[in-house]
Structures are given as C-alpha cells and as structure tokens.
C-alpha cells in the first residue's frame, strides 16, 4: 500500500538528448548555455518513450533493482510536459503507474495508480530533492530543475566543455550550496554535475556514462549518481528509445493509469 512512497516521483530522463549539433563559436552567456542544455536534456522531440532500469547499491554493497517504461509528451518546448511511468520490477511495484503533469513555476500535478486496490491516488507535490523510487536519483535529477531557480556563471570554457557554476536563488530550499556542471560544447549535454555542501565539500556526483544518437537527438543511455558521503550509488540505463511517436494528450489521463496504453508501451 505504501508503494507510492517508494515511487516518489517522476522520471523524465527518457529524453536526455539534443537537437542537431553545429560547430559554432563558443557561447559566452551562461544563461543561454543552461537554457540550451535544459532543452537538450529534457525536451528532445515532441514526445518520446524509453525503457529504463536502475541498479541501486548502498554503502554495504546491497542491491535493489527498478525497471519501468516512460512515456513523455511536451505541451510546449521548454515548458509544460506530461509523463507516464509504468513499473515492471520489482514484484511489489509491478503494474504501478505514475502520471505527472510538470508545470515549471508551479506545483506539478501527480497521480499514482495502485493496482492491488484499483486506486487512483493523487499525491501532493513533495520535496523534489528526495529519493526517487528508493534510488540515489532525486525527482529533480530526472524531471529537470527549473533554470530560473539558480544563478549561472560561466567559470571556464575548455576544449570540450562549458564549466558552469550554479548557485541557488533560494538557498534554504535545497541541500547544496552550489553545483558545477560540465556541459558538452558540441551536444550541450551536461555530462557531469558535482554538488558542494555549505563547507564547500563535494558530496554528490551525477555523470553520463554513455550516450547515443537517436533519431538525430543525442540521448543518454547510461548514467550514474554517486553519494560520496555514504558510498552508495545508482546506475541508470535506458533502452528502446523513440521520439516523435505522435502520442495524443489523451494518453496522459486517468484512463492510462487504470489501463496502461499498450500501443505506446510496447516496443
């Protein structure tokens, strides 16, 4: 019954990808770089599907697994999006479905379907920097953090990356004092992000381990988040990604919670 806590939030990394890449002069404006990275990471195509699985390891080396399929549709580029996440593993969350209507600048609308009770439960917008389905990923890592929530400074432009320092506008709402992002100059994919606490100590790292071109969009196929304090980590793999399937808005409704849309979920 309390599976919904386990499945705390939305998974959007389905779409870590980019528009066509052009060799161009280095950009100077940190805000413009971050905006572009946001589109590349979370808004590839007009819609998309992906299968995903997580391997969660705690500091003692104990493992848990999660597997699910994600459908995404953008209402507007860089703006509102809808997600449907259908879990297939582990057994105790199998067929649990999660629906999110992401509204940058506002609270998201979120629903959870618990198949054992045939219950469509609406869940309140929670802290976005807490564990997503028991992994080391946060809700915000996968659905995207509003670009307006941090101020951005371009620290360095090297041969391959823009190095950007991000400082929260509201420091009380987050557990970090700042984070540094390494954004690929060609693809605009943030390939490494490191978080620092109030003492300037590095305690958390998110990194892309592999990516591929899918229908012209650079797409993450493997990433990892490391909790440097506890020693735990979660590896996330994506497969069977497709973009621009032509999904309708109606796919993201109560109907799909009670009867997941096989037309879009199957490979």
């Amino acid at each position: 019954m309390r599976k919904f806590n386990l499945i705390k939030a939305l998974l959007a990394v389905v779409s870590l990808s980019t528009a066509g890449t052009l060799q161009a002069a280095d950009l100077q404006d940190a805000d413009a770089i971050v905006e572009r990275a946001n589109l590349v990471s979370y808004y590839a195509g007009d819609d998309g599907r992906s299968e995903a699985r997580m391997l969660i390891k705690d500091a003692q080396g104990r493992e848990q697994k999660r597997q699910f399929t994600i459908l995404r549709r953008d209402r507007s580029e860089g703006g509102e999006q809808d997600f449907l996440v259908v879990f297939s593993r582990p057994a105790d969350v199998r067929n649990t479905v999660f629906l999110v209507s992401k509204k940058p600048g506002n609270d998201d609308d979120r629903w959870l379907y618990l198949p054992g009770l045939d219950l469509v439960k609406r869940i309140s917008a929670g802290d976005k920097r807490t564990s997503f389905v028991g992994s080391h990923y946060f809700y915000e890592d996968v659905s995207g953090r509003g670009t307006e929530e941090d101020s951005h400074v371009l620290l360095e432009t090297n041969a391959t990356h823009y190095v950007i320092e991000n400082t929260p506008v509201d420091a009380s709402s987050v557990e970090f004092s700042k984070y540094i992002a390494w954004i690929n100059k060609d693809t605009f994919l943030p390939e490494k992000i490191e978080y620092q606490d109030d003492n300037g100590a590095l305690y958390r790292r998110v990194e892309v381990l592999a990516s591929a071109d899918v229908q012209g969009h650079i797409t993450v196929t493997k990433s990892r988040v490391s909790d440097l304090r506890s020693g735990g980590q979660t590896t996330l793999e994506f497969r069977f990604q497709k973009y621009d399937l032509g999904m309708e808005q109606a796919v993201f409704s109560e109907r799909s919670l009670r009867k997941p849309p096989r037309e879009w979920l199957k490979r």
Binding site: L6, P90, A91, G116, R129, E254
Partner: protein
C-alpha cells in the same frame, strides 16, 4: 496453530525462492516483460496477530491473524485483450483450514477507440476518501482490514462488468455486478460485535450473523455509475470532478426482518466529489445521499436515509513526512421519526455522527523504512481506531510489516467502541517473486 503448521504448503515457498544469480544486471535481458511468455509473480507471506486483551465472548480468542499465504498472479495478452489472474491459497490458523481466495480473473479490452470493457472478477475503487467511503459502494473486507492483512485486502473483488467511455469533456464508467457482492463484515467469528437486540457483545455460534441475501435476479443486480472529468477551476491545477450513482443494497446486513433475521435492504445513492491541488497539498471533498427502503425513517428495523459529507487535505510537512486530515459527517435523516418509533433505544445512533481521521507517513533509509500512523476519532461517538505500522524492505524480495489495530471508546455499542476487545498487534513477513 497445529493445523497451521500441518497444512504448510511448502511448494509455495519453493516457488518464491528469489534469484540471487546476478550481482549486476549482467546479461539479464530487457526482454523480461516479453508479452508472449507467461510470467508468474506473487508472494509468500507469513502473518501472525495477537489480541492485546481477552475477548470473553469468543471461545478461542488468542490470535486475530495466523496464516501462511501464497499468491500467484499472471497476465498475458491474446491479441489486444489483456487477461489477468490473481489467486491466493492460505492456511488459516484462526478460521482453520486451507482457504482459497480468487482476487482477480478478468479480461480487459477496448470495444472502440474510446470505449473500454473490463469483464470478470475484479477489485473496483473510486471516490476521494482515504479509508472513508461515501460513493465507493464496491465490496470491502473489514475482517481483513481489522486483522492486519495488507491494505490491498480491504477491497474485496466482485464479478462485474465495467464499461468505461472516454469523451472530450467527460468520461463515464458503468459497473454492473449481476449478483450482489456484500462486504465481508464483522460476523462474530474472528471478532465479536455489539448486538443492539441483546444489548451486549455477542459472537459465534449463537451470535453469528447469518443474513438473508437478495435473490439472484436481474432486478437485484448492482449498478454503479460515475461521470467524471477534469477542469481548470482553481488556478493552474487540474481539478477532478465526479458525479456518482448507485442502485443496489446496503453492503452490510443492517436491516432486520419481522422474524428477527438480518438482511441486506435496498440502497440507492447519489453523490459528487472534487479533488484538486490547494497550496502545496491536495484537497478533496465528497458528498453522498443514501436513500434506502425506509423513506419516512419511522421503521426501526430498517436503516434510515443518510447524508454523508467528507472534507480532506493532505500535505508534505517536512521532506518525506506527509500528513493527511479528513473530516467526515454522517447525518441520519428523518431522525425524529426514528426516535419516535425505536422504543427509546439506548443504542440509537446520533443524528450527526462525526469522524476525524489523520494519516502520518514518514519514509526513511532510502524509502526502505515506511512508518505510518492512521487514526479515526469520533467526537460524537467518543471512540477511536488507531492503525500504526512500520514496514521495512530488506531487499526487492523480502519485507517485514509490524503494526496494530487499536480500538476503544467510552461506550460499548459505538462504531469503533464495540471492537475494543478486537485490538491486536500483528507482524507479516513477505517474500515477493
């Protein structure tokens, strides 16, 4: 417990042995969910619960839960039709014997682009309440709920046909249950109850409730309807609205024939609900008008009509700590007529029964530990029901749940007060596969 150990179905344990084969995804195929191949899932669970005090009217009153349960579930597609089955087999040390429980056996398919049909044995739920039900008149299993089984078992399956039509502005659900499916109510076996007839707590064998069921005719089938949709009523959030209708019977045998036999009397109901984001939480409200066989309210052997109202709000207080509050009221209509005809019964319910509920949920240890507390408290009945629980997930296969069902009240006859001696503590160890 001897029966319990004797009937231990070892084969179920063998079925549930998890695969510790890989310490990585390794070559674990993504095609695990291959639809052509039939997958078996489920769990094996050992559960035990003990009464915290004696129940003097029950002969064997030590345990409220004592079972080894095996669940097998599977689903497959044939064409575009999904078939799903869930089956429980359990050795019950309280009621005794090996018991079967078919949880689900259904076929699910679309008749047209916007018309779905779900046919067969299924669990059905709608409405906005959290453990409080107004327009959800699908069958419940209160014995499972009181004894500490998984929350899933609160909802009892029924053999029904569900048609769901999806339109532009609104959607319509129609559920037909040809044979009336009553609640699994407190009947005096696992738990005793208060009998207003005798004015005392009673239990089986003499006090066992053996009601008359409605004849199995088309006319006596249950019809439930929900018209629902979403609208932007408050700001950016989508507000869910619904209108409900029901024609069937009270789900518990709360009518008495002139011969003194309990039975399920006619119930029709109409209602509505709203649910939306408010501030950073979720607000919901629901109303239902219960209209039974006693329109004038003057027949003390029949339940009076009622007006039920619910208002609730849930919000995250701190990271990982969520609190939900609900206010519920149940107004007995035509109360003067009832009062004039029930022989000044000492046990007449209040005209307005009010109930508050609170849910606190806290998750810790990377969501592997879930602490929960749910309380019902009625200021009008002066009684309560607390449901604390803690669930720990050792890994993806093994979990342990411990909890309690604590009842109490000022008077022996009230809704929760009568179950004071049913108070219990339980533990369940579950192995999922």
């Amino acid at each position: 417990m001897s029966l319990f150990t004797r009937t231990l179905p070892w084969f179920l344990i063998a079925l549930a042995l998890p695969s510790y084969a890989s310490d990585d995804w390794g070559d674990d195929a993504w095609g695990d969910e291959d639809e052509q191949e039939i997958q078996l899932h489920g769990f094996v669970e050992l559960g035990a619960g003990w009464r915290t005090s004696d129940d003097r009217v029950l002969a064997d009153d030590d345990m409220t839960l004592g079972e080894l349960r095996g669940r097998i579930e599977s689903e497959t597609y044939l064409g575009d039709t999904r078939y799903s089955g869930k089956f429980d087999l359990y050795a019950d040390g309280v009621d005794g014997g090996l018991q079967m429980n078919l949880r689900e056996a259904l076929a699910d398919f679309s008749l047209t682009d916007n018309l779905d049909l779900r046919l067969g044995h299924q669990v059905l739920t709608w409405g906005t309440g959290d453990l409080v039900f107004l327009n959800d008149l699908f069958a419940k299993d209160w014995q499972s709920f009181f004894s500490g089984r998984d929350d899933e078992y609160l909802k009892a399956p029924s053999t029904s046909l569900k048609l769901a039509w999806y339109g532009e502005q609104a959607n319509l659900d129609l559920v037909w249950t040809p044979v009336f499916a009553n609640d699994s109510y407190i009947e005096g076996e696992r738990f005793s109850y208060f009998s207003p007839m005798s004015g005392s707590q009673v239990a089986a064998p003499a006090g066992k409730v053996t009601p008359d069921h409605p004849d199995e005719t088309f006319e006596n089938g249950e019809f439930a309807l929900r018209l629902h949709g979403t609208a932007q009523l408050f700001g950016q959030s989508s507000t869910e609205w619904a209108v409900y209708g029901y024609r069937g019977f009270w789900k518990q045998p709360n009518a008495v024939s002139v011969q003194g036999r309990a039975y399920f009397s006619r119930l029709n109901s109409l209602g509505a609900s709203l649910r939306t984001n408010i501030a950073s939480g979720i607000g919901h409200s629901e109303i239902a008008w219960y209209n039974g066989a006693d329109d004038a309210g003057s027949d003390p052997l029949l339940p009076n009509n009622q007006l039920r109202f619910l208002l609730g709000y849930e919000q995250e207080l701190l990271p990982k700590l969520t609190m939900g509050l609900q206010y519920y009221s149940e107004r007995t209509l035509d109360y003067q007529a009832l009062a004039a005809n029930d022989g000044n019964s000492l046990y007449r319910p209040d005209e307005n029964r009010e109930l508050w509920t609170m849910r606190l949920t806290y998750s810790a240890m990377q969501d592997n530990l879930i602490l929960s507390w749910f309380s019902f408290y009625s200021p009008t009945d002066q009684d309560y029901y607390h449901r604390p629980s803690a669930k720990y997930r050792f890994n993806d296969e093994l979990s342990l749940t411990v909890g309690g069902n604590i009842f109490g009240g000022e008077q022996a006859h009230t809704f929760f007060g009568q179950f004071e001696d049913a108070s219990n503590l339980y533990a369940r160890l579950r192995w999922s596969y």
